[in-house]
Amino acid sequence: MKHLLSVLVRNHYGVLSHVSGLFTRRGYNIDSLSVGETDNPEYSIITMVVNEEPKMVRQIEKQLYKLVDVIKIEDLTQKESLQRELVVLTVETNRANRQEILALVEVFKGIIVDMTDSAVMIEMSSNPRRIETFIKVFSEYNIMQIARTGTIALEFPSGRSRKENSKESK
């Protein structure tokens, strides 16, 4: 099962090695990992999608907590959160299929960022599932190049306040 972990870490040169090292060393399966600074440059957020059983995910969390740079871990899997990935791809086009491709881009609310008479470059940002579908649809054509980020995620403020309210009412 896929789990989405958001890990707040101290931002310094060795952090990513420590975190990724933990995954290789203990043989945990990781689907994606993305890192970025927070508003405070002293901290970064590492968002990762881990494909493991819940018991193993608890073990991963505990092992992560033992790394001195780790400050906080949130499992966003069970929470209401916004999840986003970005994919950029270049598809070969010709006179015959160009209209069809542009229509599909429209359907997926993608953005055409560049175009020549033989290719289009498309950018699309969405939840991981729609990104999968998008890529599958476009693989009918000749994808010349593709780049894709990992998932980033953030808990909805409305989801959080709902839960806190219900906690208080207990």
Binding site: Y13, S17, K62, Q63, D69
Partner: protein, 589 residues
């Protein structure tokens, strides 16, 4: 000329110091008095600082691996931080085994390694290796010190992390220019790591459930591990065991946390544990782990381990909870604190049929070996040593059969009295660790029990023992074999002894003599008394070589991965004399 790192936060009122001096002074402020090490080009400024620092006693080893194991032995014997210093490149790679060893056995040490200048890092400079990158998986804390302004903070963090919670190794990689660079930023500096990494965690988990389970169970067992030694929980473990009449089994690292000669002690459990410990675990209805981790030498088979028992676990490292074996209840927190909370609520038991049954298990299933002819049996010699030293010597071992015989036949009484490489099983650990232990506890007898294979892995440290006249007493069991390997080949590879003989062994007595260390060899039973007298009465370092039969094996044995029902108790060959039975874990009354 080498560029030097300039400080950015100049404090006018505080005199500047070099990075090297800041690190050494921070060690002193934290109570460090001894260190082990080996100099080289990338650590010269630190060594120059040590030259001027008489409060810090430095021991020059003969190989950096010796320094790291000595630091481990020191830490294990004292509970304090063990410190070692090496140069960059080969100096740093030579300590990898010891760092991994300290990580496995939760031993608090701090390694300071020299590094090429920051301006050279990444250029494959002379004696440059990525020490930081290489030590990530084998340290609890590591840092590449990039500025003298960070020297005090990083040193404080490294010390605090090594000693806190579940202890472990820290490493500071210290570039040349940062050692030389000046800074006045060393007074009252604050650590930058989140507090929960260095503070005692709060107690959380099923406290009431565990109290109830203890009070309700008819056949409980306490399973004591290294965490019990680390958290100084001995007194409370004794109280709990006595109050509720609970038999106690121990892991290799836990030995001594509960007195081995206590009536309720069953000695070590697991692969080479006593039959009575293992049988008690098979029969119990409740097992409580106290700072132990259900590792594969204990829970040889995770499904079948203590199959019929309710299982509970107390550990300061919550990642140990349910890592291998599922438990019914757990508490995370410092063991001693937890026991303080639990003990008052335990009902006193005056007479326990279970405890009496377990005493009968001891008598029915003692440790046993063939008496043999005139040759010396290692088990017997160790048991004689135990009697002669009244079970009070600090025992250090290497790795192999001799280690297991010692764990079985020398039931230590106190925590920090039994020191060996347990989790990593590092041959060559013994001699330097014994040196470190003796430096740490100079008033106690420190006896190393080693094998002909293991001792040759760090034999050069005889030079260190001699140079500083560190009186480690060495018993060397010479069976001419990598005995433990040979035993497995005999039992599981149809006696194909592939590369496990040690023909080509030196004359160990001559070797010791070359270091001006007195030695003696004994070969027959009647010499045991004389040999031990020689060993125990020697003032400086000394070596007693004990020639033992090559075919002697360690029993009981549970083959790897099998369950406790598959335990082989002993092998009795009628032509090898009658069976000698010993129950070391019985009060001599």
């Amino acid at each position: 000329m080498a560029k030097e790192k300039k400080n950015n936060t100049k404090n006018e009122n505080v005199p500047e110091k070099t990075g090297a001096k800041i690190v050494i002074d921070t060690l002193l402020e934290n109570g460090v008095k001894d260190c082990f090490g080996y100099p080289g080009g990338a650590i010269l400024r630190v060594y120059d600082t040590i030259f001027h620092t008489s409060e810090l006693k430095h021991y020059l080893v003969r190989h950096e691996q010796g320094a790291v194991h000595a630091a481990e032995g020191y830490a294990r014997a004292t509970g304090k931080l063990g410190v070692l210093i090496t140069t960059s490149g080969p100096g740093a790679t030579n300590i990898m085994t010891g760092l991994a060893d300290a990580k496995m056995d939760s031993t608090p040490i701090l390694a300071i390694t020299g590094q090429v200048g920051t301006y050279e890092i990444g250029t494959d400079a002379f004696q440059e290796v990525d020490t930081y990158g290489m030590t990530i998986p084998i340290t609890k804390y590591n840092a590449l010190l990039k500025s003298p302004d960070d020297a005090a903070r990083v040193t404080k963090e490294a010390i605090a992390v090594a000693l806190s919670g579940r202890p472990g190794p820290s490493l500071i990689d210290f570039p040349k220019d940062v050692q030389n660079g000046l800074s006045s930023n060393y007074k009252d500096v604050k650590m930058r790591i989140p507090a929960f990494h260095v503070e005692k965690p709060e107690i959380s988990g099923s406290v009431d459930e565990i109290i109830n389970a203890i009070n309700r169970s008819a056949k409980p067992v306490l399973y004591v591990g290294g965490g019990a030694v680390i958290s100084n929980a001995s007194r409370n473990i004794i109280e709990l065991a006595e109050k509720a009449q609970i038999p106690v089994v121990s892991t290799l690292t836990g030995l001594g946390a509960f007195p081995g000669d206590h009536k309720l002690s069953l000695g070590m459990l697991g692969m080479h544990g006593t039959a009575y410990a293992n049988k008690a675990v098979m029969e119990c209805d409740f097992i409580l782990s106290l700072g132990a981790r259900f590792d594969d030498r204990v829970a040889t088979n995770t499904e079948d381990f203590a199959k019929n028992a309710i299982k509970a676990q107390i550990d300061i490292d919550s990642a140990e909870i349910e890592k291998r074996v599922n438990v019914d209840f757990f508490i995370s927190g410092d063991l001693n604190d937890v026991l303080q909370k639990i003990n008052p609520q335990i009902e006193s038991v005056s007479k326990s049929p279970w405890a009496e049954h377990v005493q009968k298990l001891k008598i029915a299933h003692p440790l046993a070996f063939d008496e043999g002819g005139s040759e010396i049996k290692p088990q017997q010699l160790i048991y004689e040593l135990w009697k002669k030293t009244k079970g009070e010597a600090v025992i250090v071992t290497d790795v192999g059969q001799h280690q297991m015989w010692t764990a079985q036949f020398y039931p230590v009484k106190h925590p920090r009295q039994f020191i060996c490489s347990s989790g990593l099983g590092t041959m060559g650990y013994g001699l330097p660790a014994a040196i470190g232990a003796k430096v740490g506890v100079p008033d106690k007898d420190v006896i190393l029990i080693s094998g002909d294979g293991s001792i040759q892995m760090n034999i050069q440290e005889l030079g260190t023992a001699k140079m500083y006249n560190i009186p480690v007493k060495i018993i060397l069991f010479n069976n001419g074999y990598l005995g433990m390997v040979r035993q497995w080949q005999e039992l599981f590879f149809e006696e194909r002894y592939s590369h496990s003989t040690m023909s080509g062994n030196p004359d160990f007595i001559k070797l010791a003599a070359a270091y001006d260390i007195p030695g003696k060899t004994i070969v027959s039973k009647k010499e045991i008394e004389e040999g031990l007298s020689f060993l125990l009465s020697s003032k400086g370092p000394c070596l007693l070589e004990v020639s033992i039969p090559w075919e002697e094996k360690v029993f009981p044995m549970i083959p790897a991965g099998r369950n406790y029902e598959n335990m082989i108790e002993y092998e009795h060959k009628k032509d090898k004399g009658s069976l000698v039975s010993i129950i070391p874990h019985n009060p001599q009354k």
